[in-house]
Every structure is written in C-alpha cells, then in structure tokens.
Symmetry: C2
Subunit: 137 residues, 2 copies
DNA sequence: TATAAACCTATCAAGTCAATAGGTTTATAG
DNA sequence: CTATAAACCTATTGACTTGATAGGTTTATA
C-alpha cells in the first residue's frame, strides 16, 4: 500500500503544479495549505530534490519549484522518487537477488504481469492530469 | 506489497490443490515440502480455516484439505483471507471512515480506478490456473 | 545585517513482520 | 484402551518501518 510518504509527495507536487512556473514557494506555505507537518514534509521534499523532480532555493525569498512542466511528470516517477514500491512482491524489486525457486514458482508469472500493469498505469498518468477536475481516462 | 503471509498462503493452497480432494494433508508435510517454518505456517493456515477456504481435521491421521474445487478459488480471495490489502491506499479499505477531503482530493479517482483494476486482476485468476504450467492469459 | 528560507542529523513511540516457544485438545491408529 | 499424531491456542520476541518531532547549520536576499 502507498503510505503517507507517497500520498504527501503527490499533494506537494500538485500544489507546486498549481503555482506560477518560475516562482519559488516556501515549504511553510505548502504545509500550511495542505495541513501537513512541516518537519515531516521536509523529509519527503528532500527526496524529491535529490531526484531532481523539484528545485530548492535557499535563503530569504527562497522555496521550491518544479524543474519541468507538470505534464512531463508521471505519478509513477513521483511515487518511486520518495521510495514507494510499485512492485507487488519483493522478488521483483530492482535490487532483488535472483531467486533459485523461480523455475518452480507457480506465481511469478502472475506477479510479473501485475507489475507490468501497475507500472503502465502509474507511469501513464501525468501530474497535469491529476490536477484536472474532469478526467477523461 | 504482498508479504510472506500472502505468498505462503498461495503456496499452501497450490500445495493442497495438488493433493487428492478428499484426503487430509498434515501441516508438517506441507511445511517440509515448501521449506517454510511449521509454526509460522500455522498462523497463516489458521486464517484460511477461519475463512472456510480450507478444512482442518484434528487428531492422528488428520490434516487439512480444500473445501471446494481448485477452480473455485480466486487468488484475490486467498490473499484477502490472510489479511493482505489489495487497496492501494488506506482510505479505500472497507473499514475506512469517510474522508472529508474527498471532494477536493485530486488523487481519489486514480486510486479508485487502480483499486478496481487490481481487484479484477486478482479475482480473475483461479487457484487452478496458478498450478498450470502454461498460462494462456 | 537581520531574517527567512533550505538543508542536515538525530531521536522517538507505535505498529508491523516473520518467527519462535510451549502448551491444550481431539481423534484415530494400532 | 491407550499412545500418538495431529490441529488448535496464547504469548513473546527482535528487527524493521512509519510518521513524526526536535534542534540545529548554512545560505541567500529583502
């Protein structure tokens, strides 16, 4: 299940997507509007900066802004940037070591298929789409 | 992510699906063949009995057996029987209290759609199908 | 130059996960 | 009849994760 980490990340990104592209929005403003602990948000936003999804500007008048257009982000990459796992089972994670029971495993096909489906789903939705009221999908 | 609880449940069920329908298979045999701690398996199997997916017979010569034909079980119900959550977010769980932010929530549509898709996927695969080598799906 | 912001490190309580331990009850095999 | 083998029951544990808090340092600008 997607935890608050991923959910807050999406709220944060939609928040930034609603701002003027060039201006920097302080975390304080975002956390106040979204009613999420500023300190906790900090941990999440750090991951987004590290993965270059957003950009931080220090000092007075600073804040955060997107590095690209909202339509160029997928929900999948945002979730994965903050450490959410889209894979349904541990053995399908990128860092998983190969399983010696894979040949005999009756479920691996199913998990792989689901994994593909989930990936396609979340990488097929843009941040832009999320912010629109009526969704055609 | 599906934890060992759900994965072991599937292994256990496929194991039982491979046995003669009427005979009872002791947990000891299953855990030995599957190389899973007997005591831990006990916790999982208890859930399956409680939810009537399998039937236990006490005493010498006892064990466990399926209550229906392997084709009448879906992967989804097996996973949910042992407590795995198929919903992608907490607010979509059956026991979740209604969210007052739902109207303003930009992500709820997406989660609901994914939830439906996952449900259809896992409830659309039978235990029977899992045990077959070549899957046409 | 005071201030406001990002950025950094550490800690915490509660909960979950995977497993272990040591029993009691029940039915049957011999 | 009785020893045995099995399900069934309750409690505990260590490691890890989650969501959050606390108290700083650094940096840029109003």
């Amino acid at each position: 299940m997607i935890s608050t980490r991923g959910r807050y990340a999406l709220r944060l990104m939609t928040e930034l997507a609603g701002q003027e592209p060039e201006i920097y929005t302080p975390l304080k403003d975002i956390s106040k509007r979204q009613q999420i602990s500023e300190k906790y948000m900090e941990i999440i936003i750090k991951e987004l900066v590290k993965n270059k999804l957003i950009q931080g500007l220090r000092g007075k008048g600073g804040g955060y802004r997107l590095t690209r257009s909202p339509s160029d982000y997928s929900v999948g990459e945002i979730l994965e940037a903050v450490g959410e796992q889209l894979a349904p089972v541990a053995c399908l994670l990128p860092e998983a070591e190969s399983c010696d029971r894979e040949d005999a495993c009756p479920t691996i096909r199913m998990w792989k298929e689901f994994n593909q489906m989930s990936h396609d789903f979340f990488y097929g939705i843009s941040l832009n789409e999320l912010t629109q009221k009526t969704v055609s999908r």
